[in-house]
Amino acid sequence: MLLPSFLHLLLCLVGLLGVAHASNANDKRVEDFFERNESPTSSHTNNWAVLVCSSRYWFNYRHMANALGMYRTVKRLGIPDSNIILMLADDASCNQRNKFPGSVYAHPDRQLDLYGDNIEVDYRGYEVTVENLIRVLTGRMDPSVPRSKRLLTDERSNIFVYLTGHGGNEFLKFQDKEEISAFDLADAFEQMHQKKRYNEILFMADTCQANTLFSQFYSPNILATGSSGLGENSYSHTNDNDIGVAVIDAYTHFVLEYMENINKTSDNSLQDLFSTVATKKLGSNPGVRTDLFGRPLAKTRITDFFGNVAQVEVLPPTGHLQTSANDEEDSYLASSDMDNKQPSLPHNLTSEQSLPPSDAPWWSSLSLLIQDWGKTRAWVAVGSLGLCLAWTLSS
């Protein structure tokens, strides 16, 4: 057993060196390339958010708080309720054990009630299932499903997908009953891509081993980030002694903390957000996957995903388009005519970017090995079953 694992370690190290070398050599060139071609703004015209808390029960209060915190932030930054799909697997605010009925707090000082008085939960309780999430994403709904429960996106939509709950290697548990796997998510996103249901997706997961959830993605223009690597737990941030349980997870807490300083017109980039969160004490290594994403993070505004910022076209004074022709309009908006066609990176240049001091290449090669292990284990299982059988027969 020792020898193979030693060999694997060696392999990982070699792989790591290779990637590091390749990226050193090419980084500068790639960066220059993007600098030249990059337009400063995204080409989306509308924003959507899918926020999922997949855990039930009172002791998972913090997961409800995570999702509600994100809900509050995207709503504050301008995504209307009609464009937010909020899935809460349990109603912590009305739980009998809640000392503050009707409220959900994410901080022991209880200054900010996340449940508030204007909240629209689209899927609640037992409606939060893997099937429903996949239906929301792919749009394969029964005709009777109301508008508020649908993700009515088009090819100009930026979507923020946030998942929180209990997860493991390549899965996220829903309600102690079922799991969504990384493959399900990847296939759902591919179906969205095929039907042009998004312009760009920001995928964020705060669960244990969250980074494994996006390991299987293969559709373009998806930026994925997670709170913890393979084999790592995602920890809660703080307890409230009156409520009696942990009230928020560390990763979400620091993301939200950063977002508090953002408003609709801020132009901070996602790189700023990720770098800031990575410096915090999380107990895990948050990861970012950028190889599918066409734009550099430093040029991607947070409000491209968390806000609802569309470029408007101001009309000429008389209000008569017919006489205006195109030049007059164009003078008003240089910014809206932009080209989002990004030449895709050659494959050897893309790498699993990670936050310092994370170790994604090591992790990704490990995941490959784990996959192989899966097969090996399966065969070992079959073999031992056969041995059992033979033994029973011979006795």
């Binding site: 179906q191 209000g319 809206s336």
Partner: protein, 519 residues
């Protein structure tokens, strides 16, 4: 060797019975129990197979690929009236040349040879007319002599003009950005929002039915062959902004950044959510008395004359500063201006091509507001858009079904795909009027979308192989192994019995031979 039954009396306590004498330990009973188990299992296998397999009907994959790979073009039919044959041929040649150069602009369009002389009712007509250029329904009046000479030369102007009319600049980002995607149904929502009536002044209402009748309905009627519209309207008396306008001397201003976030979606409820149609919003915003007049600022921070703006694919907004404080409904003059602007915004959002500036549009006959030139261009644009969408959707359906093995394909999906495909094929066969081609393209698009979004086409949950082992092994191994082993042993015993019987052995072998003999 003695029979165990004779020993039993001596070796077993009275309270216990010899197991071999129990009725269910009889060989025949035991064997029939095992047989029963196996019968149930074997009978259940088809049921298990049926319930765990997915219905995947074959889609016409190869037809989809072959049909969608052929690129089709829509003919553009133009007829010259009142000029001698062949005179406009150089113009046509130049236009064809341009359609090759400006591929994006002429995407999917081909120019039919110009026709001369007797023009039909359904063609676009260019008529010789000395005077200002004008357009009226299907007739474009230009001075042919001025632009096309007998020696075969022509002016650039006429070629530019025709290109602008037939293939308006759909600078890809502009068209896609501003105009909404095609949908057969739209909901138009008109809202009059008073920022804060409590501050003292407000517009208490508007005569919307009249305004719609005059300004919007004619446009909608012209478009009735493309879309169905539903209209809703509302008046709100408290609709706060999410930001504070910048105060200047004597007025308030909205910067460009603020314009981008003007819509306060958290607090404004702009449309009912009763249907899944695409909603286009039209908002007349009346600033609070404390923040009047409210102007849009340009990039230098100076106020501009503009008071309206468009949010791409979302709708249009007009900021209205009432001239004098009142509690009255919107005055007729303002109403007219407002709805004229809304109508312009609506046509921009629906992708209606605008006429080149040099052309004057004469009032159309009847209630029409759009000339046939514009209608045809719009129909062609939408047809091409639908064609591309249908092609991509059909291709992605067959690709996904190939790619994702767990994806069920039911009869309704298959029917929709086949119908979409036949509508798509039908579009390009025979000679049809533009409106028929468009209707087929819309059918093909709607059917292919419906097939794609069919709720039954949900890929079943993916389980890695090891998960399957993990689920099946504890469930079945513990039951199957004893069953299997006991069946095997029973068969072995039975064979041995038969062999012994053949050998003529007189000893009565039963399974009881294994019981320990204590004597």
């Amino acid at each position: 060797m003695t029979s165990p039954s004779t020993n039993a009396n001596s070796s077993w306590p009275k309270s216990l019975r010899d197991p071999s004498t129990l009725y269910f330990q009889k060989t025949s009973v035991k064997r029939s129990i095992i047989k029963a188990y196996w019968t149930v299992i074997i009978c259940a296998i088809p049921l298990w197979w049926y319930t765990t397999s997915i219905q995947r009907l074959a889609l016409p994959t190869s037809r989809v690929h072959s049909e969608t790979e052929t690129l089709h073009t829509l003919p553009v039919d133009v007829c010259w009236e009142g000029i001698p044959n062949g005179l406009a041929e150089p113009v046509r040649k130049e236009l064809v040349q341009r359609s090759l150069q400006h591929k994006e602009r002429w995407n999917g369009l081909t120019l039919e040879p110009f026709r001369y002389g007797n023009c039909g009712d359904n063609t676009l007509i260019i008529r010789n007319h000395n005077g200002p250029e004008s357009i009226h329904n299907q007739v474009l009046k230009i001075s042919v002599e001025k632009h096309v000479r007998k020696d075969g030369t022509y002016s650039r102007h006429v070629v530019d003009l025709l290109e602008d009319l037939l293939a308006p600049v759909v600078d890809a980002s502009h068209f896609n950005n501003l105009a909404v995607q095609y949908s057969s149904r739209y909901r138009l929502s008109f809202s009059l929002l008073n920022e804060d009536s409590a501050a003292g002044d407000m517009i208490s209402g508007w005569n919307i039915e009249h305004a719609l009748r005059v300004h919007i309905t004619p446009l909608l009627e012209d478009l009735s062959s493309l879309h169905n519209f539903t209209i809703e309207s509302q008046v709100q008396f408290h609709a706060p902004l999410a930001f504070r306008p910048a105060a200047s001397d004597g007025y308030w201003g909205i910067t460009r950044e603020d314009l981008n976030v003007f819509v306060n979606s958290a607090e404004w409820i702009l449309s009912s959510s009763s249907s899944n149609d695409h909603v286009l919003h039209f908002v007349l915003f009346v600033p609070s008395l404390n923040a009047r007049p409210l102007y849009i600022l340009d990039n230098n921070g100076q106020s501009t004359e503009s008071n309206s703006f468009l949010l791409p694919q979302w709708g249009g907004i007009i900021i209205h500063n009432p001239s004098s404080p009142s509690h009255q409904p919107l005055p007729p003059a303002d109403l007219r201006l407002t709805f004229a602007t809304f109508a312009d915004q609506l046509s921009a959002l629906l992708g209606i091509p605008q006429l080149p500036p040099s052309i004057k549009q004469l009032p159309e006959s009847g209630h029409h507001v759009l000339s046939k030139w514009q209608m045809d261009t719009l129909l062609r644009r939408r047809t091409i858009e639908n064609t591309i969408q249908t092609r991509e959707t059909l291709r992605s359906i067959v690709n996904l079904v190939d790619q994702i093995e767990n994806m069920p394909v039911g009869q309704d999906v298959k029917d929709d795909v086949e119908n979409a495909l036949s509508a798509y094929t039908e579009m390009w066969t025979g000679s049809k009027s533009l409106i028929d081609i468009f209707t087929l393209s819309a059918d093909a698009f709607n059917l292919s979308s419906r097939a794609f979004f069919n709720p039954g086409m949900l890929a079943l949950l993916y389980f890695p192989t090891e998960h399957k082992y993990a689920v099946y092994a504890p469930l079945f191994a513990s039951a199957i192994i004893p069953l299997f082993v006991s069946a095997l042993r029973e068969i072995v015993a039975w064979k041995k019995e038969r062999k012994d019987a053949k050998n003529g052995s007189s000893v009565d072998h039963t399974q009881g031979t294994d019981t320990p003999n204590t004597s």
